[in-house]
């Protein structure tokens, strides 16, 4: 079902771009090369208020068309719109785009389960057993070794998750009968430890649960597949946004830096770097726009292919752009090293290329 015109998608893109210019730009400054994390809650609130992020609340502006809003469940255009918004955010800051992405997925889960609730800042935990993502395990969670205890409506478990300053949590767990999705609306009983990461810093946690379950929802394989598909596609979109902005910065720099008696934009090897980066970014964009909601099993494979292609190409593009800056690219001040780290993190998170390749092959064999 297609619901959005190209003009409307462009409006969402513009809305996001305006938000970046007005608010998100201040998130990164010379003292906070990875972002001023204390600003995150207010930025997320603002993004929710103007409809960039979906909330599981029908009256929220982003309910339908915010990132991973309700319409993305069956509309290709809504998915494209989410991807474009994520890429636009990522041009300014990949970490914030990632947080929006996680928040959106959490909202989508709740919307799918008709759980209209008001909430803040999710912690999203995709069960460790899902990663590396092997297709057979996704379909048969009963084969995954259990490393949690659930008794008297309590969950005792340790796992990795993504979010910021979470006030509620969504956890996926494998069971003998299928997947279960658990919701906690109070994270006071969850012990959180921030994990230092290569890029997309400040948003990864090790969480220890000894917590009362607020709500338990069943999650059929299709739902899990769709969420994983969103997860991977979002990473691809963010990587594309990062690479795009790295490229723009590199182009600008070549018009300012002099070496070999002229601007470096005239140096052949610099042009080769830029040409390669541009081709990779365009290919990655094309991989994203060709994504379509097809029948359920192929969706995930298609998402995996898109993610593998886009993140690999973008990671190469960003490294080429960094090279254009020479030594300056290696320093925090120019912001390009952050893009390099962020892009490599997007390449690895939740299924690195190594596992994505196997995953795609396994799905091909299944077919």
């Amino acid at each position: 079902m297609d619901t959005l015109s190209q003009a409307t998608i462009a409006e969402f893109e513009q809305l996001t771009a305006n938000f970046c210019k007005k608010s998100l730009l201040h998130y990164i400054d010379e003292h906070h090369p990875d972002g001023n994390f204390t600003l995150l809650p207010s930025l997320v609130d603002e993004a929710c208020a103007i409809g960039i992020i979906a909330k599981a609340n029908a009256s929220a502006p982003g309910y339908d068309y915010g990132v991973w809003g309700k319409q993305t469940i069956d509309s290709n255009d809504a998915i494209q719109s989410s991807l474009i918004m994520l890429a636009t955010l990522a041009k300014t800051c990949a970490s914030f785009a990632f947080l929006v992405h996680i928040q959106g997925i959490a909202a989508n889960i709740l919307i799918r389960n008709n759980m209209e609730t008001d909430y803040h800042y999710p912690l999203l935990i995709l069960y460790d057993g899902l990663f590396p993502p092997y297709y057979s395990l996704l379909c048969n969670p009963s084969r995954i070794p259990i490393n949690y205890t659930m008794e008297n409506n309590y969950l005792i478990h340790t796992s990795m998750g993504y979010g910021y300053n979470p006030q509620y949590a969504i956890v996926f767990l494998p069971e003998s009968t299928g997947w279960q999705c658990i919701y906690f609306n109070n994270t006071d009983t969850i012990l959180l430890q921030t994990i230092k990461t290569h890029g997309i810093r400040g948003l990864t946690y090790r969480a220890r649960f000894n917590s009362k379950i607020t709500h338990s929802m069943s999650a059929d394989t299709h739902t899990i597949e769709m969420l994983l598909a969103y997860f991977w596609l979002g990473l691809a979109a963010i990587a594309t946004g990062v690479a795009h902005s790295a490229y723009q910065k590199a182009i600008e720099y070549t018009g300012e830096r002099y070496q070999r008696g002229g601007l470096i934009k005239n140096i052949e090897s610099v042009q080769m770097l830029l040409g390669n980066a541009k081709a990779n970014i365009e290919a990655s964009k094309r991989a994203l726009v060709t994504f379509e909601l097809v029948d359920s099993s192929a969706v995930l494979k298609h998402a995996a292919q898109t993610r593998l292609t886009a993140t690999t190409l973008c990671s190469q593009a960003v490294t080429d752009c960094l090279q254009v800056f020479g030594g300056y690219g290696y320093m925090e001040d120019f912001g390009i090293e952050k893009k390099f780290r962020d892009c490599n993190t997007l390449l690895s998170i939740g299924g690195s290329p190594f596992f994505m390749k196997q995953y795609i092959a396994q799905m091909e064999m299944e077919e």
């Binding site: 590396p132 230092k196 990461t197 960094l322 290696y330 320093m331 490599n344 390449l347 998170i349 690195s352």
Partner: protein, 438 residues
């Protein structure tokens, strides 16, 4: 997984007749050990020593310093490295601690072998210790015995006998001249600002250098400046001491990786340098610079190799100690495939580097080939190591992502890989490249 039965590698040797046994190698020996055996005996010793030192002193410091480089006092480590003889390895006795016979076959091999070991444990600490040699290299390549006696000999005596290190740095890069001072074509038009004005008894140095490794901690710096009113062909190398009036270290850069070593701005404000502190010939700076780079590029290549090896070793450790679905990661065929691929690259890089060091004199094209190939492969290997670890690959605690951050720098300094490609052609333009293939 690979069971010791009659199909195994070991049995394939044992079942041969005596003479056959002598001709085949059924040993289960690490590649590190195999490679060590092809080195000259004294270099082997340095390799083992460097490995021991790195594990003992560098390994525990690496994550701490990466996290907070600004509170780190490097002096104890430098002192220890000096005590072990690593900081004077660039020359043989009586000027340094390098073993003489292997030195006569290759001036750089011993440093390269050590660099790999240091960098395996930490890129930043390796740079901290090795950038010193870059600073010393102009003194060595000046080929001027009085210079050696005046500067290298006291440095060696102080270090070897009194464990008092003298740290040096090498300063060519300027804000407006980066690649241009590493490329003979770009150099013609280089916007060099650091100038030396002749005055009575010496020269007054003015201007700013940037990105100088160890710049803030060095006791002495080999600084390249053009003579006032002249161009790059007047470039001259001066030995500037920390205590000289008007010389100071400015801003310390915030780097993505190799964070333990500072990259600093050096400010020269009417620094008087006596004539006797000219290194090599007056106006002989460019030649010195080009040869120093040819000399040091295999060492940078060895550092890149070390970063990659570090990533490989940590990923291997991870695969040996983590289980997936009840099975060790290392026992998955796909993981083995990837590890093998990384080993292939590591071995080929090491062979390229050792080959580039196989001459007494550094060879420009071989040096640049080693530097470009090693650094490009190192980045690939680090990415592969991260990939097989899944999400854990991006966590600081495993040190693999750090290796990638560290390795990325080797594609930039000592001339970007683009500049190094031109250096290869510059050297081969009238030889290999000119060969008529029809």
């Amino acid at each position: 997984m690979y069971i010791d039965n009659y199909l195994s590698l070991r049995y394939s040797k044992e079942s041969l007749p005596l003479l056959g046994k002598l001709l085949v190698d059924g040993k289960y020996q690490s590649l590190w050990d195999y490679d060590t055996t092809v080195l000259p005996r004294k270099v082997r010793k340095w390799r083992k020593k460097a490995k021991a030192f790195s594990r003992l002193y560098i390994r525990p410091l690496a994550p701490v310093v990466d996290n907070n480089p600004y509170d780190f006092d490097p002096q104890p480590l430098i002192k220890e490295a000096t005590r072990w003889g690593f900081q004077t390895i660039i020359m043989p006795f009586p000027f340094g601690s390098a073993a003489l016979m292997p030195y006569l076959r290759s001036t750089t091999l011993q440093v390269a072998v050590i660099a790999e070991e240091f960098a395996t444990e930490c890129g930043g600490l390796a740079l901290l210790l090795l950038a010193h040699h870059l600073g010393v290299a102009p003194l060595l390549l000046s080929g001027h015995i009085p210079t050696w006696l005046k500067f290298l000999l006291p440095m060696y005596i102080k270090g070897a006998w009194f464990a008092k290190p003298t740290t040096m740095a090498f300063a060519i890069t300027e804000p407006e001249a980066g690649s241009d001072v590493e490329d003979s074509i770009g150099a013609k038009d280089a916007h060099i600002q650091v100038t030396a004005t002749p005055v009575n008894g010496g020269y007054l140095l003015n201007g700013t250098k940037v990105f100088i490794s160890d710049g803030a901690i060095a006791d002495q710096v080999t600084v390249f400046a053009k003579i006032k009113g002249e161009e790059v062909d007047s470039w001259t190398c001066f030995l500037v001491k920390k205590c000289m009036k008007g010389f100071s270290a400015g801003r310390r850069e915030k780097k993505m990786g190799q964070r333990a070593a500072d990259a600093s701005e050096l400010i020269f404000d009417n620094v008087f340098v006596p004539r006797r502190n000219i290194v090599g010939k007056l106006r002989g700076g460019w030649a010195l610079n080009q040869n120093v780079l040819n000399y040091s590029r295999p060492v940078v290549a060895a550092m890149a190799l070390g970063h990659a090896r570090g990533a490989f070793e940590r990923a291997l450790h991870f695969c040996n100690h983590n289980y997936y679905m009840g099975k060790k990661l290392i026992d998955y065929k796909e993981i083995q495939y990837e590890l093998a691929d990384m080993l292939i690259k590591l071995e080929s890089v090491r062979m390229t580097i050792w080959r580039s060091c196989a001459h007494f004199r550094a060879c420009q094209s071989l040096s640049s080939i080693a530097k470009v190939y090693a650094s490009d492969m190192a980045v690939e290997i680090c990415k592969q190591a991260m990939a097989i670890m899944g999400d854990a690959g991006i966590y600081h605690e495993y040190g693999v992502e750090k290796a990638l951050r560290d390795a990325r720098l080797t594609q930039i300094y000592e001339g970007t890989n683009q500049i190094n490609r031109y250096a290869i052609i510059e050297h081969q333009y009238t030889t290999d490249v000119a060969i008529d293939t029809i």
